[in-house]
């Protein structure tokens, strides 16, 4: 069986020629949650955008391939690619407020995608959205669908976007820091909800986060990214039991843990950063596009 998502040797550059993704490879198997973890600027969102075909125009893929259920996105026309991605993949974004149009009611924003991209009949889309709102425990679908985004709480808006993402029965969801803007108690509810729907629907998820705590709780597999380069890849339990890369260990030591305060908030050692810089330099030196 082919992977749900297979990214192989993906490099992307800025107009300056500088690489933002450095020969990235990762897979997400059907029904699996893979965490993509790293600090800001590492390129996590860039990978998500590449998968969803929404890279900024200044960023160019110069090497490698992205396959969705076996189909190479690079081999398709722009139109075919949009259609395939629309049918197979969906996004749960970080900030539900900016992801929603503030001047339109929530309901049509949820059904739009189903009607316009997937070609569903309006009543079928409406039924489907109501079913998903029920699955994310929204008990008053009429009120929520008639509301404007600002009339809902942050947690409620994120529920709406989760429902919208699952509504089209995608094979893959890219969840880009979906709980970063939320309070911890709401975060936990939202993580639980994503996990429940993921299991019930058998959806694969590429779960982007900067939080190793979230990685531990939601994923089976994990890829650690630094400066657009994969520095470690592992089964999630193995990563926490036995982190291989010095950077992974440094991230763990920097992460606060209320159960072990003395082992928390350790600044990353200069030697670790120097080691990373050297690794990047070697990777860039050896790299020849299309070579």
């Amino acid at each position: 069986m082919s992977a749900c998502l297979d990214i192989s040797n993906l490099s992307a550059t800025l107009p300056s020629g500088q690489r933002v993704l450095r020969s990235v490879s990762l897979t997400v198997q059907p029904g699996e949650v893979r965490a993509l973890v790293g600090e800001s600027g590492a390129g996590k969102s860039m990978i998500g955008k590449a998968v969803l075909g929404v890279l900024p125009p200044s960023v160019r893929i110069v090497e490698g391939a992205i396959r969705l259920e076996g189909t190479d996105l690079g081999a398709l026309s722009a139109k075919e690619r949009r259609r395939l991605i629309g049918a197979k993949a969906a996004l749960i974004p970080q900030d539900p407020l900016t992801a929603l149009n503030p001047s339109r009611r929530v309901g049509p924003q949820m059904t739009d995608r189903l009607v316009h991209i997937l070609g569903w009949a309006a009543d079928k889309a409406d039924r489907r959205v109501r079913q998903l709102l029920d699955e994310v425990h929204i008990r008053e679908p009429d009120r929520v669908m008639k509301a404007y985004p600002h009339e809902l709480s942050g947690g409620m808006r994120q529920r709406v976007l989760i429902a919208a993402a699952f509504a089209s029965e995608p094979r893959l969801i890219v969840a880009d820091e979906p709980t970063t803007a939320l309070d911890v108690t709401v975060q936990k509810q939202i993580l639980r909800l994503i996990a429940q729907l993921q299991q019930e629907h058998g959806t694969a998820i590429l779960f982007v986060t900067h939080d190793l705590g979230v990685v531990a709780k939601v994923s089976q597999k994990v890829t650690v990214l630094y400066a657009g380069k994969v520095v470690e890849e592992a089964d999630t339990p193995a990563l926490f039991a036995n982190p291989q890369h010095a950077y992974t260990r440094a991230l763990m030591a920097a992460t606060p843990k209320y159960t072990d305060p003395q082992a928390s908030l350790k600044p990353v050692d200069e030697s670790v950063l120097a080691g990373l810089a050297a690794e990047i330099a070697v990777a860039d030196h050896d790299w020849r596009p299309h070579g």
Binding site: K188, L191, L212, Y258, S264
Partner: protein, 271 residues
Amino acid sequence: MAEPLFKVSGLKVALPDMTRKPLIGSAPLVEILKGLDFELPRRSVTGIVGESGSGKSTLGRALVRLIEPSAGSIHFEGRDIAHLPEGELRPLRRNLQMIFQDPMSSLNPRRTIGAIIAAPLKLNGLGDNLEQRVAEALSRVGLPESFASRYRHELSGGQRQRVGIARALALSPDFVLADEIVSGLDVSTQAQILTLLEKLADEMGLTVAFISHDLSVIRRLCRQVIVMRQGEIVEQGPTDALFADPKHAYTRDLIAAIPLPEIDDEWLKAG
């Protein structure tokens, strides 16, 4: 035991609710802090935690008298400053410093870092040897002297926060309010900034009110904690005791909701 630096009793803050302002006339008041009693012991970091909207920032702004309480007292160094007029507050201000999440976002982007740090020095009659004082303030937070001629946009998030700390500490205050100063920073930067704050607080004998939504950070950094919810204090005490035996269900919920970086298959299901 020495007198606490702050002793606060029955603190209430009411602000106009602009969402319910009638066309003509003033907006009705909403009570945001509903009668708080607490002390901030000297030379010690006190954590203030709670979910967004619980009133943490309002509490901080009342402490440094950016807002005037509607009731209660705020004793600072034994003197009630709750209703002092601005003229009488002015001499106290150098002792009541603040660091915010993005401390430089409110400052003029066309001013150099040096000018930003120098401004409070000049205002407080320390205009002599400015260059040297600015250099000292920068080196205190681990930044090279040359940063004085840089601009805000040339700095990373962590460097900006260092400048925020340098500016707040340039006048060697007794009290520093730190409001979500590491929110939005990466864990590695967060660790650097908090380690720095901890070291300086210790060296300079600072009393710090450390506002954060992250209980794990508070556990590591603060000697005592105040837990807030909807404008009230639900629980307060020494950090060790609070974590060992949280009394209030809300505190227990907050702790239980933290995803620890360790494998626990039950965590998502529980609670």
